[in-house]
Symmetry: none
Subunit: 182 residues, 4 copies
């Protein structure tokens, strides 16, 4: 009576829809219902494919963090020498986030989850480790760690600030952090 489609990509579609919904209304506003509607799957599919919201969020943010880390790695790998690497870092800080405000919002949602739940902290931890590894292609470990923090801090302030930001500040930051202290 009812059509029976195997639909192997369904799980993936749900995960993607989850990120979309969270980006729009936040973890606070996301529900099985809204995500099911966004994914175009019946409500019953949600609890069939996922134990609960938490598992779904874990999977969704795992995918998000992996994609973000991979993008950064690729960017660093493209730099031929230290100077190019420094320029690349400054650009990461200055440039619009790759996915627009969506990525910013999702990043914060993930951090908020990670601040409370160790399972999500594993995700942020892996993400940060990947970032540092990518930076260590060009910088010593301490400098890599500091650069990573500077990227995080400046990008965040840029996003949460109302006033426009000066690209020169990013360049100055990279210069100072990578300079041998006198």
């Amino acid at each position: 009576m009812t059509v029976r489609r195997p639909d192997p990509g369904r799980r993936d579609r749900i995960v993607d829809a989850c990120l979309d919904v969270v980006a729009e209304v936040g973890v606070a506003g996301a529900s099985h219902r809204t995500i099911a509607a966004a994914a175009g799957v019946p409500l019953g599919s949600m609890t069939y494919h996922f134990t609960g919201m938490r598992e779904l969020l874990r999977e969704a943010f795992g995918r998000f963090a992996a994609a973000a880390a991979e993008g950064f790695e690729r960017r660093m790998a493209a730099a031929r020498d230290v100077e190019e690497a420094k320029r690349a870092v400054a650009e990461v800080i200055t440039a619009e986030p790759p996915g627009g405000p969506r990525d910013l919002v999702l990043t914060h949602e993930l951090y908020t989850l990670a601040a409370r739940d160790p399972a999500f902290r594993d995700l942020t931890n892996a993400w940060m480790a990947a970032s540092r590894r990518a930076l260590e292609r060009h910088f010593d470990p301490l400098t890599a760690r500091l650069l990573d923090a500077v990227i995080e801090g400046m990008a965040m302030h840029r996003a949460l600030d109302v006033e426009p930001h000066d690209p020169a500040a990013a360049i100055a930051a990279v210069e100072r952090v990578t300079a041998r202290s006198v």
Copy 2:
């Protein structure tokens, strides 16, 4: 029928309870019911005193951000010279957050709200401006801005990382950022 006591501090108690509940279960898990229970007030009081959840959150996080900004300002004001100021900054990065994990969680919740809602971005904006003003007691504007970002980034990474962090990294970060570039 029921006892009716005028209770002038009630609004404040609700705001405080709101922060407590958000710290524990997040904005996503906070509800009028839970907050009312935490504040020991009847459910009807919630929408009597506040138009809705958003207004309550605004007020709660306004109070939180103001307190955090004031704490930092006081700390910076206590430094007598640049060297003391640098030490203070390194301590802020390294030290356990003043309110324990609670402050960290609340900060992230606020950032998440701010990433989506301009009303909350006003709060973060004011907070950041206050931080920079405090740093400018001892450092030039550019350095102050960079230090602020470094504090943010390192504190955040420290919190979201699983591995222990080396206090020396904080000191190195401050040294490099405050050094005259060669």
Copy 3:
């Protein structure tokens, strides 16, 4: 501390606001709060001046029905002879209700209350009696009664119908009802 204004018209203003609110959102949607807001009086005034919603509605609809009845009476009194009276009746049926859709809505709200509550039936009863009395200035009692029913039925159908109505039908109705049966 608080200003103390005698404000003798306040009761009346509340009654008027009650009709306004009922016209807009219906008895079902009217509440002490909305009416108080519409009247520009504090919520506490409502239960101070009126025992409850029912008393307020009684008073409001009493005023409404009295005004409607008086309007009709005046109209009939203006007719000099039977022919003018017949024309006036046809006009009442055909013309837009005097207060626009507002009067129509309020009339139905009143009828609905009257259908269930004898206290409101007293109001409709008095209104109908007044109408018949006005008609009896020009017509015999039976004809007056029939005319009154025809006015009611046609006006109602005109209002609840989607299709436009032919003014000729009103004239025909009046002619037939007032004609001596053969």
Copy 4:
């Protein structure tokens, strides 16, 4: 945990219960809760089966109006000639409403909704069209229209009036309206 019986007639039962509740306490007093209780279904069923109160009322009054129209049609179809038809019309006016005061109350509730909401006006419009169609089995279109209005007006006055009504008035009304004007 709880027993879960598929119950195909449930939607219908809710609609019926809705009419019962509205007949008793009015649209103003009807709520999901009371209707659910009357239908013997859990509260959650209400919004599962119906988008909101409006949709439920639409369906309920659609059923009511259809039944009323059908009853009238059947009555008119039973008349063999014009004289029988006239007698039938007079009886409709004079007789107790078929469902007792319940039908009267529901009719007014529907009219009140229709006076404000076009969606319900569609219902009354269809009902009136059906009535006229039924009358046109025996009368010319204009006469049918006038008769319909007279039925409405007299039935309404009879119901909203406190004084007893003379069956002769109904007969007179029908005679006059159906008489060729001289």
